[in-house]
Amino acid sequence: MNGRRVTFGGTQPPPQEMPTHSDLEPEPTSSQSLLTDRRSFSQAVVIAPPNPVAAPESKLTLRNVCKNFHTKTGKFNAVQDINVEVQAGEFLCIVGPSGCGKSTLLNIIAGLEKPDEGQALVNGRPIVGPGTDRVVIFQELALFPWLTVLKNVEFGLRMKGVGKREREEKALHFLKMVHLTRFSRCYVHELSGGMKQRVALARALAIDPEILLMDEPFAALDAQTRDILHEELQEIWAATRKTIVFVTHNVREAACLGDRVLVFSTHPGRIKREIEIRYARPRRLEDPNLVAFSKSIVAELKAEVEKVAQEELDYDWRTGEKKPVLRPRDHDVGSGI
């Protein structure tokens, strides 16, 4: 574990000495010990904070958080026993199959839902409800269609009672950050999906929250737009130094963006594995290191997805190797090599 290289700040080239595969993908036993280690440490002292400006106190703390839902079929355990410490300025990704409770966890942090057990703290104080110190960027469109782009970005400032001039100035500043000043007078429906998420990002940043909560914000975008936004999000994160909690089901996205990735299991939603990623930024999705890295997470997630499928699908559903579909003339595939 000590072979990890810390390279923050973004513009540095990747380390000469590439981390070995075993370093990236710890043995299950060692990952287990890493997990327990971190847990016990997090209670007492913070070791090697990923960000040097980290306060002695964590920005965000979840302690033994549980949340149940009551359905017709009985009690359903959405998240169970979640312990997380997030430092100021950290980029935390939560990855897991759909239905693993990662969005529930985000809602708990946002104060839109209350945990049944355990505590959720921001700066050491319990979360009691929604607050402008924690702003969510949703996957689906949550912009107000009756307002122009500029007014949308101004909304949070208006709620705070900021004056008109200052409001507009700030809103334009953040629209500039996401490169959308030209569209400030447009209505939301006139924008493309990627532009809408840019507006949502600007709107969230304008409120100047301490923590940015992102709930699969790029899931509905096409791959090319997503790649661009990944890069820009890293840039903006580096410039603003916000604490970000980013929920996704896309493993490579998580590996690309996060300082740390929490892999969730389903039924109940728990932290299965915790991985630190310390590559130079800006990272790109196609970075071979990240690809190798995400493979190991994918393998872990696959087991979870299969577990869900086993519960949801018919009994005759089997996992394992699927027979490739061959046409007669495909039999000599490879004969010419």
Binding site: V135, V136, F138, W146, Y187
Partner: protein
């Protein structure tokens, strides 16, 4: 065709006036100001009644959608009352307010109120929860959340309720004025009937249609179109 049918003399002239006669009556009516006063009196009543019902309707709709107790008591009552044609409130209004303007305005209010109320209620119930969550998330609470997020989100539904309410209000006003009224368009119809002046009846009917259409075209359709364009329901 109307002119020809009228001049052919199939029906007596006093029952089936020709368009030229109707136009002449219209011109005369406006010249001696009887029509002008009639239109103004009716418009005054409808604006007053409609404004009251718009205000009350939106407030009632908000109250019903926000408060369970009100929803369970008033909500079902309103649904029941909607089946009652608003002119049926006239006898009650006459007893309550006496033979005066208030009685007619009351009938107009009852005509528009319920459809605006139920449209507001359903609009708020169907307001996308995500938008409300986003509003809360950005620091909007209580009344501000209601005014800045919930009501705008319910606007498409409220607008269609307003449009429907307008036509209900206009109809109730005419019915009210026909049965009872001092000056007003409905009253001009009654006078026309009593004087056997069919051309006045037709002329006033024309005015009623034109005002109804104008309100719809100039106000409601325009509002709706602006809203739809902004929200992206319709290509601009």
């Amino acid at each position: 065709m109307w002119e020809v049918a009228s001049r052919a003399g199939i029906w007596p002239r006093f029952l089936f006036p020709s368009p030229t006669e109707v136009l002449q009556t219209l011109a005369e009516g406006f010249a001696d100001r009887t029509f002008v006063f009639g239109v103004l009196a009716s418009l005054r009543r409808i604006f007053l009644g409609y404004a009251i019902s718009l205000l009350l309707g939106v407030l009632l709709g908000l109250a019903i959608s926000r408060n369970r107790l009100i929803a369970e008591t008033l909500g079902s009552l309103i649904l029941g009352l909607q089946t009652l044609p608003s002119i049926c409130w006239l006898p009650l209004a006459l007893l309550w307010f006496g033979l005066n303007e208030s009685a007619i305005v009351f009938v107009v209010v009852m005509g528009a109120l319920l459809s605006i109320t139920s449209a507001t209620e359903s609009g708020i119930k169907n307001a996308p929860p995500l938008l409300i969550k986003a509003g809360q998330n950005m620091g909007a609470t209580g009344g501000r959340l209601l005014i800045e997020v919930v009501v705008p989100a319910a606007l498409p539904s409220i607008l269609s309720g307003m449009k429907q309410g307008w036509s209900f209000a206009w109809r109730s006003l005419m019915a009210g004025e026909l049965l009872y009224g001092s000056v007003g368009l409905g009253n001009l119809l009654t006078v026309g009937r009593e004087l056997n002046d069919m051309s006045q009846v037709v002329a006033v009917m024309l005015i009623i249609v034109v005002i109804g259409l104008a309100a719809d075209y100039l106000v409601f359709s325009r509002l709706e179109r602006t809203m739809r364009r902004r929200w992206g329901f319709e290509a601009s």
